[in-house]
């Protein structure tokens, strides 16, 4: 972070206090996003975007105002402060809620991200080669691989947060990712498959098990396998769910329900249910800022609060919601460090960080061996969820299982159900926790995007409704 921006931020906080706010906070950001895309063995797109700016939130009585600017001079930043105050005053007259911030201890801390082979120091050539190597390996697998698309992405920079209570923290977010999707063709049938990996790591991440060669081979192999796949049967079956799909369930269908803002307005079915048993005893769902196992690492949230490890569900019992300082005050709980904004131009809202099922004591082999008749469902191409916990997900790989053995591959399978019922049907949680994150996309909420991590171990669930091929 350039000294100039830091100074400007500090001046803005002082200016805010002078013109009569009760509380002011500033998020300054300087970050870079780079994307490289290769189709087959040709680089198609390379782009870079630099994001620099300042966002300001002020409280005036029970009114809140947010403003931002990326024209970084004193005149524009002070204008933004004044505008935020004007918005706060306007809001105040119309607000029913008494919005207050839960108390936190002021903190001064700087966290530096130290990784081997940080993408900011690596050449474009090295990154470009990751994509080309990935495509090349996949294309070599078979003549039936008709098309490969590989993407490399990186995001990193510095975030500096300060507020009128004396908190000053800064950290250096980092996210790198590599992905490949392959299309395989045989006669009239066309199928696709993909592999990807990413997290807060340097480029050494792509050296061993997540090398472009390994991922290229996986995606091609899985696509070829799908050429022989059969449609999935429809009906209720026991299912073994892989870490990626488990992550999507943890994040999309359960995590969103535990967000304090949804809980505070009573829109979540988890509202008022702390202490209740919602799942089997072997189920623990965690949301954490810096998990050891990977994902997207963040030490502080965008209110300068340290990211706590939150066990939302512990041994099947609902323990906690995800909070920012406003929802924490409202629900009379502790802030958990879950306030996040897409960038400086958005106000912080309650968001997840890395959401996952915690490990159990089954080995994945054991969990499969004891699956008599059902479906092994892997990875997800997204789906739909609603605020009652009802979900529809499409798994993009699957196998029919009989007597603990994979019998044949399945085409895309749709799973539907309600997460609150699913949690009661989990009968095995394995010991192989994996976390995934990606610089492509991320989670969307209230027109803001945020990078998140998600995952879990393999989990086994009875009575999952599969929708067949539709």
């Amino acid at each position: 972070m350039s000294l100039q921006i830091k100074e400007l931020a500090d001046k803005a906080v002082k200016h805010a206090s002078k013109i009569g706010v009760d509380f002011a906070e500033i998020k300054s950001e300087e970050s870079v996003t780079r994307n490289i895309e290769a189709v087959n063995e040709e680089i198609r797109t390379v782009s870079e975007s630099n994001n620099i700016g300042i966002g300001i939130r002020v409280f005036n009585g029970k009114g809140v105002g947010f403003s931002f600017s990326n024209i970084l001079d004193k005149e524009h930043i002070f204008q933004a402060v004044e505008r935020a105050l004007k918005i706060a005053k306007t809001s105040k007259r119309r607000t029913l809620m008494n919005l207050k911030l839960a108390a936190v201890d002021p903190r001064t801390e700087t966290k530096i991200t130290n990784v081997k082979n940080h993408p900011r120091n690596a050449s474009l050539d090295e990154k470009k080669d990751l994509c080309l190597r990935e495509c090349k390996t996949a294309l070599r697998e078979s003549k039936r691989i008709a098309n490969t698309l590989s993407r490399f992405g990186e995001y990193h920079g510095t975030i500096y947060y300060s507020n009128s209570e004396g908190t000053e923290v800064s950290h250096q977010p980092l996210l790198t990712g590599l992905t490949i999707s392959c299309v395989a063709k045989k006669g009239a049938s066309i199928v696709d498959a993909r592999d990807s990996y990413g997290g807060s790591y340097g480029l050494d991440l792509f050296k061993k098990e997540h090398s472009p060669e390994k991922m290229g081979e996986n995606a091609a192999k899985w696509a070829l396998e799908k050429l022989e796949a059969k449609p999935a049967p429809a009906g209720k079956f026991e299912a073994l769910i892989d870490p990626r799909l488990a992550g999507v369930l943890a994040h999309e269908s359960f995590g969103h329900l535990s967000e304090g803002d949804t809980v505070a307005i009573g829109a979540s079915p988890l509202a008022g249910r702390i202490g209740q048993k919602l799942g089997t005893e072997i189920v623990t769902i965690v949301d954490e800022g810096r998990p050891r196992e990977g994902g997207y690492s963040m030490p502080f949230d965008d209110e300068g609060v340290p990211c706590k490890r939150v066990e939302i569900l512990k041994d099947g019992v609902l323990k906690c919601y995800l909070q920012n300082r406003v929802t924490a005050q409202r629900l009379k709980m502790e802030p958990t460090g879950n306030a996040r904004s897409q960038d400086y131009s958005f106000e912080p809202i309650v968001r997840m960080r890395n959401t996952f099922f915690n490990v159990g004591d089954w080995s994945p082999e054991e969990a499969l061996r004891e699956l008599k008749r059902g479906i092994y469902a892997l990875d997800s191409a997204g789906g739909q969820v609603d605020l009652t916990g009802t979900f529809l997900f499409k798994a993009i790989r699957g196998y029919w299982v009989e007597g603990g053995e994979l019998k044949y591959p399945l085409l895309d399978v749709a799973l539907t159900g309600n997460i609150l019922e699913l949690l009661k049907n989990i009968n095995a949680v394995c010991n192989n926790l994996e976390l995934f994150s990606s610089p492509f996309g991320g989670c969307g909420k209230m027109e803001q995007r945020a990078f998140v991590g998600l995952g879990g171990p393999h989990i086994r669930v009875k009575d999952v409704l599969f929708g067949g091929t539709s």
Binding site: E42, I43, T45, V46, S47, E48, S49, N50, N51, I52, G53, G55, V64, G65, F66, S67, F68, S69, N70, I71, L72, H76, A80, R83, K86, I87, T90, S91, R94, T95, L96, M97, L124, D125, K128, A264, I265, G266, A267, A271, G272, R330, L331, K332, Q342, S345, F346, E347, Q384, E447, Q448, R449, S470
Partner: protein
């Protein structure tokens, strides 16, 4: 705009000095205000607060007037996107700043990027200046100097109108955004142009409850100028919700005529049809319409035009996002396909002229951070006759689909197949709306639907880059 042009020219000079073959500087500045107002979460009407242990809102009155939960943000976003060409290889870099120093650095970054890319044999050149044919975008002073107090009051008043419409309304929410933007394009082929404009977008959602049944309805309005009166809009949104109470399942699967309200039809049409007329998609075999120019692709009466010169259009500016003048391009005439939409790159590949359809608008990412893509300016389905009621009355039996559809993004844009969920649908019997339907799946094929149009209404509405009326088509499958 002069400010943007000036710094853009400097950047273009800097690029030449670095020895690039071509450079394009896109500068963008936007003053954006967004207001969201959740009006009245009405406890005593059995609303959302049940079972909350009273921790949130203590509301005694049945209808809390003039207060709710406002969330307002506003600010200035400015930045630059730079394309440079070195030996037919293209580099792109952007920065969220219009400071000279940052822009110069970004020119250098774009150049570095171009150097690692292979040449694109299809690359011809950046566009050259052309005489404008259309009009400047509308810039409404009221939006440029937005009064936040007044605008919040507009939201609050609208929520009150929506709540007062019927006691069964349990919640009304309004989202509003007002934007005043300026942009400029400078390139080394002597293009030095720009324009400014304002937009005003309103979204409203209401919930209604009766017994154990809870329904919702939403609607939107998009305009280039400030809308002073939203009473009718708010009333209609509430009326739509109330009309959905008493939902029943369909007695049997319906295969036949469906009347789509303009908002529902727009979602399917924009998502599926729009990519199919992009020249780039046609060139790369991603469109069903390849080789179909001059052929009948729709019912004979259907007229579709992409009109970037339409005064009140959301997509109207004097030039597109690479500096090519906007124009009027016929897409479908008498049901026959006339033209595809081009940016400069796809046009040069076919030795044609760009139709002025280069577009960088892809929220929530700021425009300057995106490479131009082919998008319609104002894609207009020409209105014919009759409002929604008239369209319904022309069908003895069928289904009326209203409001926003769920899952439109899962449609297959290549084949045209869609299967979506409609939460605001009605059974039509004897040419009349008989009763509301439980959430139903609506499935069909959009490209086939264009050929089986029964009627096109005259209730055209602007949905950003698409302006369309309600449409009735055959051969749609509906099931609850």
């Amino acid at each position: 705009m002069e400010e943007l042009l000036e710094v853009g020219k400097k950047a273009s000079k800097h690029a030449r000095k670095l020895g690039v073959d071509e450079a394009e500087i896109f500068l963008y500045k936007e003053n954006l205000t967004s207001i969201k107002f959740v009006g009245g979460i009405f406890a005593s009407r059995g609303g959302a607060l049940k079972g909350l242990r009273g921790s949130l809102l203590r509301i005694a009155e049945p209808w809390i007037k003039k207060k709710g939960l406002p969330v307002i943000t506003g600010g200035v976003r400015a930045g630059v996107g730079i394309r440079v060409v070195v030996k037919k290889a293209i580099g792109f870099a952007s920065v969220s700043s219009i400071k000279e120093k940052k822009i110069m650095e970004t020119v250098e970054n774009a150049t570095k990027i171009a150097k690692i890319r292979p040449p694109d044999p299809s690359w011809d050149s950046l566009p050259k200046p052309k005489k404008p044919r259309g009009q400047n975008g509308i810039s409404d002073e009221k939006i440029q100097n937005l009064d936040i107090d007044e605008t919040l009051k507009l939201c609050v008043d609208s929520c009150i109108v929506a709540g007062d419409f019927d006691r069964k309304i349990t919640q009304a929410m309004m989202g509003l955004s007002a934007s005043a933007m300026t942009f400029a394009v400078i390139n080394t082929k002597d293009i030095e142009v720009g324009d400014k404009g304002t937009t005003f977008t309103v979204f409203m959602a209401t919930k209604a409850k009766s017994g154990n049944e809870e329904v919702s309805s939403s609607d939107m309005l998009m305009s280039r100028t400030y809308i002073e009166n939203l009473q009718e809009f708010a009333t209609n949104t509430s009326r739509n919700a109330i009309e959905c109470l008493g939902k029943k399942p369909l007695p049997e699967k319906h295969i036949g005529p469906v009347v789509f309200e303009n908002i529902s039809w727009h979602q399917l049409f924009s998502t599926i049809f729009t990519p199919s007329i992009s020249a780039l998609n046609v060139q790369e075999n991603r469109s069903i319409y390849k080789g179909q120019i001059g052929k009948q692709i729709a019912e004979k009466s259907l007229e579709v035009v992409d009109d970037g010169t339409l005064l009140e259009g959301f997509g109207t500016t004097i030039v597109d996002d690479e500096g090519t003048p906007k124009q009027r391009t016929p897409v479908i005439e008498n049901g026959a396909l006339q033209n595809f939409l081009y940016d400069n790159y796809s046009a040069k590949r076919e030795n044609k002229e760009s139709t002025g359809n280069a577009n960088r608008h892809r929220p929530p990412i700021a425009s300057y951070a995106n490479i131009p893509m082919i998008r319609p300016t104002n894609l207009v389905i020409q209105p014919q006759r009759g409002n929604l009621e008239n369209l319904v009355s022309e069908n003895n039996s069928g289904v009326l689909v209203k409001g926003s559809l769920i899952g439109v993004h899962t449609s297959n844009v290549i084949t045209g197949d869609f299967s979506v969920t409609a939460d605001n649908a009605f059974k039509i019997e004897n040419g009349r709306v008989a009763y509301p339907l439980k959430a139903c799946t609506v499935a069909g094929n959009l490209y086939e639907s264009l050929k089986s149009i029964i009627a096109v209404g005259n209730d055209s509405k602007c949905f950003g880059n698409v302006i369309c009326p309600s449409v009735a088509v055959e051969k749609i499958v509906v099931a609850t």
